[in-house]
């Protein structure tokens, strides 16, 4: 009986799901060269080209410059006069495609595997290209993302995907590039408030407890490193095998660490083991910029739109964090949080502009910088010749909610369908009331 109800529920859910997605198909490969003209082009590296053009063919950018494009006869021409062109935004840490409904629908949640050390679990294979959330995010210019596993101490391995695909194989933009580690924290209950407080029976201080966990990590990684040196292990260890890339430079270690001490420990850890590390979160990173800079460890800021951690902190500290890292010369990107909320990524970036960043720096934060940190900057992150044509046209400033207006978007030159469930529901009910849907 229970099963019947479950499958019935599944069926109903299936019908609902199919509604929004049915008419939104992934785009066909670019069939002819395209030129966008008359646009204000934000290259992504700080450069702005007024009255610029950009040409792309077979998915690659073939030219970019000021004025009119040379030799574009036979091209499809998009007149973008008065409009803005941006590189596709990149979201480096998200559960997009891994979660459909956050709560009360466990069956749609695929980001946390059970267990403590899971370097071998891969987010790519759980990435659901048919998620109805993806088109809503894409509509705000986010064209690439890295869906990541969560939970445990080592959460798993992730890949970068492009957000217009039939299946995860199509979606894969760069496979298995990062292993995710949650650095032990010495401050109890940091995230969950009082909930996380450990039993009072223990005589260990939080610092001792955290150090124990760190010691354990050193042991684990030392063994993994030794394992990586064995050409043909007598017994295969899938966890260590998944970590191999960390020691030969093909994978980066993304370490979630917000507190100053955690960050310091994590950077030292990576240095000792010869691992390329990325600090994720980095709320306190402005306090330890020297060690980050000295060791070339970048920070992915989780969000600018956050409350300060401590009552005493600058009320705007989260808004100012990008500026503080910029001024200190630390490499930083920005990711935003969750999955559906990623459509706010451009605004999370724009938030920093009132607090010391230039608009172009804010843009780089979610384009070039994120691309560099993910190791995909050779093919994307800026609008430069030879790179993938991952870009979009906005009617106005795309980092500001009152002006963003994504009208055309291209992933590898393919013209993306910008419709989504929300627009469809808007049209449906505007129709009911006889009002105009202002899309």
């Amino acid at each position: 009986m229970k099963k019947t109800i479950l499958s019935l529920g599944g069926l109903l859910l299936g019908i609902t799901l199919s509604y929004g997605q049915a008419t939104i198909s992934p785009a066909k490969p670019q069939s002819k060269p395209i030129v966008i003209t008359g646009a204000t082009i934000h290259v992504g590296n700080g450069q702005v080209i007024n009255n610029g053009y950009i040409t792309f063919d077979k998915g690659k950018i073939t030219g970019i410059g000021e004025g009119s494009a040379p030799g574009t006869s036979g091209y499809e021409v998009i007149d973008a006069t008065g409009k803005q062109v941006y590189p596709g935004f990149i979201c480096p840490m998200t559960t997009l495609g891994l979660i459909e409904i956050e709560e009360g629908a466990k069956g749609t949640v695929d980001d946390v595997e059970t267990g403590t050390y899971n370097p071998h679990v891969r987010s790519l294979v759980a990435y659901n290209t048919d998620s109805k959330v993806i088109p809503t995010v894409r509509s705000n210019g986010i064209l690439l993302a890295q869906p990541i596993p969560n939970g445990g101490i080592i959460s798993g391995t992730s890949s970068v995907v492009q957000l217009d695909a039939w299946n995860w194989e199509d979606a894969a933009y760069k496979k298995d590039i990062a292993v995710h580690l949650n650095w032990p924290s010495a401050s109890a209950g940091r995230r969950g408030g009082r909930r996380g407080v450990a039993p009072e029976t223990t005589t260990e201080t939080p610092a001792q407890r955290a150090q124990k966990a760190v010691d354990e990590l050193y042991t684990l990684f030392a063994e993994a490193k030794a394992y990586a040196e064995i050409a043909k292990p007598a017994v295969t260890n899938v966890r260590f095998a998944a970590m191999k890339g960390l020691f030969n430079g093909t994978k980066k270690l993304f370490i979630v660490a917000d507190e100053a001490k955690q960050i310091t420990q994590a950077v030292t850890f990576a240095k000792k083991l010869g691992i390329q590390a990325v600090i994720v979160g980095g709320k306190d990173s402005y306090l330890v910029t020297d060690i980050l800079k000295e060791n070339n460890v970048p920070v992915i800021i989780r969000e600018t739109q956050a409350l300060p951690e401590k009552e005493e902190d600058d009320v705007y500290i989260s808004y100012k964090l990008p500026m503080l890292l910029q001024n200190a010369g630390v490499m930083y990107g920005l990711t935003g949080i969750g999955f559906w909320r990623q459509r706010n990524l451009p605004f999370e970036a724009g938030e920093a502009v009132g607090y010391g960043l230039t608009k172009e720096q804010a843009l780089s934060m979610i384009t070039l910088n994120n691309a560099k940190i993910l190791g995909i900057d050779k093919t994307t992150g800026t609008l430069e010749k030879g790179k993938d044509a991952n870009l979009f046209i906005s009617g106005g400033d795309a980092l500001d909610m009152i002006t963003i207006d994504v009208q055309n978007a291209f992933i590898q030159g393919r013209s993306i369908n910008l419709d989504n469930l929300h627009k469809q529901l808007y049209r449906k009910f505007a129709g009911k009331y006889g009002v105009k849907a202002n899309l």
Partner: protein, 1042 residues
């Protein structure tokens, strides 16, 4: 083995047996009666009778545990044991107004196996057998006299401090029953009772009660209020017998003592007291200095502790970040509290309650004295004041004829650092704290004997804690510190004079003569041989002692302290800011009136109101702010917020909790208030959570940073109440033990939700009718009364809602039951039924773009606001989140993208429209002469991501100014650094320290369930919670639950 046990038992009997075994008259006696005259005379003493009177060279006569006479020149009759106290002092025995002496330990809360997933057993009503009340936390029937039993060990600890009488209470529950006043005499229970009904005790802490309700502080307040009303009703009814209510009534004539931790708690309790004509005595945590005027204003007496925080370990700068500014300030200012209380003229007793190390008591008293507490007040607060509070001032508290013979014999003024309490007589029974030395050994002595030449012994310190220094004079002079032990007349000293002679020398001796003092004995020198020695008194020892100096007084020295800040938290002000007269020149003014958005306009504010809007306004005496290129808007109004409340935001233990009020639990110290100001928010509607169909009453506040909770409330605002529909009410998403009665509470479906409303309003209707006819003969029910208010349009509904079916349902229930839904909040599928909402005149307060966080928001769209707006509804955007709240202007901006709303209409979503749905449109929400001067100056278009909130005014008071923020931070940092320096010095001086661990505030959303505060700490439950948290942690990695 058995033998060993027997031996142990015998040993125990021996230790417990008293010098004199007294029996009550009615008891049989084993062996010969041992009734003694018990007559003692204490002569030649300085007798401190009370704080006001001291007798020098006085005599104290006691007989049969009572004081027979006190005064100078009293002849000692025959038959008295005479004790000469020349040079010594007698003080009244101290009275501790708050203790749990002799009470059984509170039982641990039942926590069934499987608590990990299953939570506690659900107990909607009490499971206690007997004719008691429905809620286990209300236990006025608890009577301390029924469970009191003397405890020699605990008594000794208190007697060592100097106490002879204590209030002893059952420290468990909200109404804690009646307490006793007992002496600490080592005697039968029958003999130590001084007042068997000393006081009725209360608290906000549920303790071990297993009843589900209340799970929040606001539920606790409601329960207390309802209990008062029930007790009043009980007197005149004949339907039921109820021990709890009966005893509650009987205890009303006693002292009413309310345990309330901090000033805000005190004000909370005082408000209840005012409602029911009760003047509570407050037992607190000693933070009155933080709000001394308000504490004075309660008109209450206080019982305050001396639990001054230890300095924190601050050497590691990064760890020190975990200490809040408030904690630093509290460390510095805590010892000033008793002095501040005295200066304010508040009556208070001092308790030792909460002091973990008995030595700290006197150290902390002296710290308090160093910071302004007078010795006279200190004595009163430890004697007569607590005696009065406990109704035993005729028996203890001063040394007077006819009172109980409880007094202290001390070496010196009681409050002096080197004072020694020799004896604590309790009810005529001697208790030796430190053996009284008739011969004070302090002084310089010449040591003679074979091998000792030119050697001087200096005995210093205090009687009971002597120290000794030895010096050898001459060509090879040395000084060394020795060790001295005195047992009665036996004295032993050892020391090493480093070559004069070599090695450790041990002196074993006795007091051979008292005047001059001569010590004699045998010395053992390092080679094992013995010689005779004599030490002869030559004069008083010099002050200061030898190497190592005198034993330092650990009391905090009186060095200047920083100011109190309001509120007592980071970014608090030393002075509460005042309303200014300001002219904003040349701004873009978003009036939200028919004038629309005015360019290059001026706005004048004065006396907290908007005075004029126009161009080229004359400044007069106003401060002029050049607002060229800037935007001036009305203050932002958040229709749905959960900040500035404490003790839980959900009373989710019942499906209907209309009686609970956010108004009772406002927290004016919430840093989020300050952060809201920095985001241009001036007014917030603080809602109960969404755990139940009919939640609690809400409270509209303005962000008046630095004022008291009552002062945050918007005067004259209409009252609202929170309703909720959907998944939260059904308990869908709760689990992992964070909701106590998951899957038990009705309703579990949307079908059931409707019936909750139908039933509740049916009952309310009947209640209303019954009250109309029978008046007060019908029991006043705070829950039904609130529902009746809704039907009478005296209270208005804001209902948490998501899907169209339930929205439709509630509007139908409202129609059929005769009430009106004012606002649907969240209302993410409002766009599907906007026409029906329009027909029912319901306003909509929604999110800009939230969705996908649970199934009922699977079809939430960012065009919702626009569609409802186009349909003619009053639409607002709310936050339900402290972070989002401070950028609601941006959330409004999203409507410009999603649906292309005009900018003018968009700003109204977070200003005028929420003001309108809160019935406040005549006072706030637009810039119009006569309205409140709640205005915000922005650096750019306020809807833009690039806008920075530069200035925020509430009632014309500049509560936020970005240009001053850097200075404010710097000032705070400087003050922090100053206190940290002081802490390091305190630590270096030998003070015990504590590890930094800031208690960070919990942020509430609709779903927040908070029980922890109200459950007795228990290692097992804590462990279960930690496990549940670890599991929950993994799936709440980012999203806040709406």
């Amino acid at each position: 083995m058995k033998k060993l046990l027997l031996f142990c038992f015998a040993l125990m009997i021996y230790q417990l047996s008293r010098a004199q075994e007294k029996y009550p008259e009615t008891f049989p006696v084993n062996g010969a009666w041992d009734v003694r005259p018990e007559q003692f005379a204490f002569i030649n003493a300085t007798i401190v009778v009370s704080g006001d009177q001291t007798i020098t060279g006085g005599t104290l006569l006691i007989k049969n545990k009572m004081i027979e006479a006190v005064g100078a020149g009293i002849a000692v009759p025959k038959g008295y044991v005479t004790i000469d106290l020349k040079g010594k002092y007698i003080y009244p025995g101290l009275v501790d107004a708050y203790s749990t002496y002799g009470m059984p330990e509170a039982p641990r809360q039942a926590f069934p196996a499987g608590g990990f997933g299953g939570g506690r057993t659900s107990n909607p009503i009490s499971t206690k057998a007997g004719a008691f009340g429905w809620n286990e936390a209300i236990k006025p029937e608890m009577s301390a006299k029924m469970v009191f039993h003397t405890n020699a060990t605990t008594a000794a600890d208190l007697k060592k401090i100097g106490f002879s009488t204590v209030q002893s209470l059952i420290h468990d529950g909200i109404a804690r029953g009646t307490s006793v006043a007992v002496s600490l005499a080592d005697d039968r229970d029958n003999f130590v009772m001084i007042n068997d009904q000393a006081a009725a005790n209360y608290s906000f802490n549920k303790g071990t009660a297993a009843t589900n309700y209340p799970s929040s502080l606001m539920g606790t307040v409601a329960l207390i209020r309802q209990t008062y009303y029930d007790a009043q009703w009980y007197k005149n009814q004949k339907e039921e017998y109820n021990i709890s209510l009966d005893e509650f009534n009987k205890a009303q004539s006693l002292s009413q003592i309310f345990e309330a931790s901090d000033p805000q708690s005190v004000l909370r309790a005082a408000k209840i007291g005012k409602e029911f004509g009760k003047q509570y005595i407050f037992k607190t945590d000693g933070q009155e200095y933080q709000r001394i005027d308000a504490m004075k204003g309660t008109g209450s007496a206080f019982i305050i502790p001396l639990t001054f925080p230890a300095p924190y370990d601050v050497e590691d700068a990064l760890d020190a970040r975990n200490i809040s500014y408030a904690q630093l300030k509290a460390w510095e200012l805590a010892p000033t509290n008793p002095g501040v209380m005295e200066k304010a003229g508040i009556k208070f007793a001092i308790t030792s309650y909460g002091i973990s190390n008995a030595r700290d008591f006197w150290t902390n008293i002296r710290s308090a004295i160093n910071y302004g507490l007078t010795e006279k007040q200190a004595l009163n607060s430890l004697t007569i004041t607590p005696a009065e509070m406990l109704g035993i001032a005729d028996k203890v508290g001063t040394i007077a004829k006819g009172k109980i013979a409880s007094f202290l014999i001390t070496s010196n003024d009681l409050f002096k650092a080197d004072n020694v309490i020799y004896e604590n007589w309790v009810e005529g029974q001697q208790y030796v704290v430190s053996k009284m030395d008739i011969t004070d050994l302090r002084g310089n002595y010449t040591l003679t004997g074979s091998g000792f030449t030119n050697t001087t012994i200096a005995i210093g310190g205090a009687p009971g804690t002597y120290d000794v220094n030895l010096s050898h004079t001459g060509a090879d002079s040395t000084r060394t510190r020795g060790t001295i032990t005195r047992t009665g007349d036996q004295v032993s000293i050892y020391f090493n004079l480093k070559g004069n002679p070599a090695g450790i020398i041990r002196l074993s001796g006795y007091i051979a003569s008292a005047s001059p003092i001569t010590l004699k004995g045998i010395a053992t020198i390092p080679d094992g041989s013995s010689v005779n020695w004599t030490a002869t008194y030559t004069g008083p020892a010099p002050q200061g002692g030898g190497p190592g100096g005198p034993r330092g007084d650990a009391a905090r020295p009186n060095v200047p302290v920083g100011p109190v800040i309001y509120p007592f938290v980071a970014y608090g002000n030393t002075e509460i800011p005042k309303a200014e007269t300001v002219l904003f020149k040349n701004a873009t003014v978003w009036t939200n009136e028919k004038e629309g958005i005015l360019k290059n306009a001026d706005v004048l504010i004065e006396n907290g109101k908007i005075k004029a809007v126009g161009t080229n306004l004359s400044a007069g005496g106003a401060k002029v702010i050049d607002a060229t290129g800037k935007h001036l808007t009305p203050g932002i109004v958040d229709e749905h917020s959960h900040i500035a409340a404490t003790g839980g935001i959900n009373e989710g233990t019942q499906s209907v909790t209309a009686e609970v009020r956010v108004a009772d639990v406002l927290d004016a110290q919430d840093i989020e208030i300050y952060r809201q100001l920095a985001g241009g928010v001036t007014t917030s509607h603080i809602l109960h959570g969404s755990a139940n169909a009919i939640g609690g009453q809400t409270q509209l506040i303005k962000h008046r940073w630095g004022l008291l909770p009552e002062q945050l409330k918007v005067e004259g605002a209409d009252g609202f109440i929170k309703f909720a529909l959907g998944e939260n009410v059904k308990g869908t998403n709760s689990g992992a033990g964070n909701q106590p009665n998951a899957n038990l509470r009705f309703p579990q479906t949307r079908m059931g939700v409707e019936e909750v409303y139908v039933d509740a309003f049916t009952r309310a209707k009947e209640y209303k009718e019954a009250r109309a006819i029978k008046g007060n003969n019908v029991r006043r029910d705070l829950e039904l009364e609130t529902l009746a208010d809704i039907m009478d349009n005296k209270r208005f509904i804001t209902c948490h809602s998501y899907v169209q079916s339930e929205i439709n349902m509630l509007m139908h229930v409202a129609d059929s039951m005769g009430f009106h839904v004012n606002t649907f909040t969240h209302i993410l599928e409002g766009y599907k039924v906007a026409d029906k909402m329009k027909a029912h005149r319901v306003a909509a307060s929604t999110f800009s773009d939230w969705w996908a966080y649970k199934n009922e928001v699977a079809e939430a769209i960012p065009y919702n606001g626009k569609l409802m707006h186009d349909e003619g509804l009053i639409v607002a955007f709310n936050s339900d989140d402290a972070e989002m709240a401070r950028r609601l202007n941006q959330e409004a901006g999203k409507s410009v993208t999603y649906g292309k709303m005009s900018e003018e209409d968009a700003l109204k979503l977070v200003t005028l429209n929420p003001a309108t749905m809160l019935h406040m449109e005549n006072r706030i929400g637009s810039i119009k002469p006569g309205k409140d001067a709640d205005v915000v100056l922005w650096s750019a278009d306020p809807l833009s991501i690039y806008a920075v909130c530069e200035k925020t005014y509430v009632d014309g008071v500049p509560y936020w100014d970005f240009s001053k923020d850097a200075d404010n931070q710097k000032r705070m940092k400087t003050d922090e650094a100053r206190i940290i320096q002081k802490m390091v010095e305190a630590k270096n001086a030998g003070s015990a320290t504590q590890r930094p661990a800031a208690a960070r505030r919990r942020l509430y959303t609709c779903d927040s369930i908070e029980e922890e505060n109200f459950v007795v700490k228990d290692a097992y439950t804590e462990m279960e919670k930690a496990r549940a948290a670890a599991s929950a942690e993994s799936d709440d990695n980012n999203i806040k639950n709406q």
